[in-house]
Symmetry: C2
């Protein structure tokens, strides 16, 4: 897995492939909304397994039916391919096609 930092051009190109994600303070940010807490935590449980397998973990917050996610590669102080890989997997888990 390539863990180098991505350039601005690369980030823009990757962002264009994702739906619902945007840059906030240099991090990949998205808010997911579910029917209720069971829906939200069910998503988190699946996402936790994916994150652990990738060895890349989200900064995330849950308030009842909402899960707010920030992705960032701490070691680089920027975004890497892993952030976009995890973002795409989270979107899939939440039921998005992208």
């Amino acid at each position: 897995m390539n863990v180098r930092g991505l350039s601005t051009t690369e980030i823009e190109a990757q962002l264009a492939t994702l739906r619902g994600w945007r840059l906030v303070d240099g991090k990949l940010h998205r808010e997911f909304t579910f029917a209720d807490f069971v829906g939200a935590f069910g998503f988190m449980a699946q996402a936790a397994l994916v994150a652990e397998k990738l060895q890349h973990h989200p900064d995330w917050r849950n308030v009842w039916n909402r899960v707010t996610v920030d992705l960032w590669t701490h070691d680089l102080g920027g975004l890497s391919a892993k952030d976009f890989q995890l973002a795409a997997r989270l979107s899939q888990l939440a039921g998005d096609s992208a």
Copy 2:
């Protein structure tokens, strides 16, 4: 379950029975630290079941091995007995005696 708002005196008395929790912006606040992400999310998975059973859910954030929790009774705009009940259960799950 009593869901009335607690008075300042009641809150202080309840806080004295809990270890590690403090008031931040009127909410019950605590940060838990675990060995790694698996430890942190294992705690969250157990806590999610407790919260759902209590029908009282935390505002919480996870960053790798850390879980930051804020408890508050949204419907009251303040603290209720449920917040202290959930706080005590979370402490137990994290391995505290209190």
